[in-house]
Symmetry: D2
Subunit: 110 residues, 4 copies
């Protein structure tokens, strides 16, 4: 009986696809860690722009969401590319950071 | 014979864990989309700080990587939280954005 | 013989003009320190966007400059507004910071 | 009788001082427009960090202000350096941008 495929990693797969996408366009030369970090900061700034005048509890109007979704996607795209170029395991880094956060911020006692 | 577990989504699982982490600390009230977008911009700025004076082709010194890994983790953490609060499917948004990018930037002809 | 006018402060004058500009549009309610800090991060991100793929020593093409000038202006506008709302003397803060930088980074010996 | 000195430009004077400060430390080679734009984004991100969890109308606690003043100073320092390296007249750019903003956002009618 056939085995289920090994648990595919969404982020690894995305990493591979973005790597191919860059290679096919000869973009590797632009995708230095420095440039990707700058692109990530730029996209995060654009994302922030959508929220700057909003009241904190405001519900977004429906037509505001599509451009925000594109910015969210760009942030993830550049983040995955940057981690790839630095040879960083993104989910491993999150595990490590969450362990630190757990120590710094124990759950509230009741 | 036991079935393989359904393909678990890494990002969905991370989303659930971060949701619990916030709830256990009563942080939901801080995690408005606006505040999370601001936190994401802040972490991206900190990440950029590590690269600002670097020559573009420079290889990072070994001791530079651990703090960068923490910033990368923070960016992903806030990104997943923000998408969760906006009820956005992050990987779906990436698919959509990559389809747009594919149209805008066809692969180079040789 | 008439005295020269007291040394007018460019930044104070700009602060006053921006204050009036906001008041005439009923924007004071949007211009909380938090919102202005977010706007500043957004404009800085847009500014970074112009440089992200550039080689470091690259000379900007002539048509790249006008939009960059607008971003630089926006950064100064939000910075002056933010300092105003926080009641911070911007040039005094710079003096203080430069004194710190002078201690941290003494001039190089030759 | 001695003339009053010509109206000195605060920002020009700051530009000159920062230029000397960089030259005395042999920092000119780091201060490319690209690197300075990245530094500006980094400092704006750090500034945003101070406000991210704040309620919008919150009054800052007194001890929160000094580090914010330093970030504000850093933003102005890098902004003035960047404008200098791009040979942009910062106040001229603000005049131009405010004229555009005036057209886009006429004062509210009463």
């Amino acid at each position: 009986m056939s085995q289920a495929p090994p648990l595919a990693s969404q982020l690894d797969e995305l990493k591979q696809r973005l790597r191919r996408f860059a290679a096919e366009r000869d973009w590797e030369r632009f995708h230095s860690p420095k440039n990707l970090a700058m692109a990530l900061a730029a996209e995060s700034g654009e994302l922030a722009e959508h929220f700057r005048w909003q009241a904190d509890a405001a519900v977004l109007p429906a037509d505001a969401l599509p451009p925000i979704e594109q910015e969210l996607a760009d942030v993830l795209i550049y983040l995955v590319r940057l981690a790839d170029r630095l040879d960083v395991d993104l989910l491993g880094a999150v595990e490590h950071k969450m362990a630190i956060d757990l120590t710094r911020h124990p759950p509230q006692q009741t």
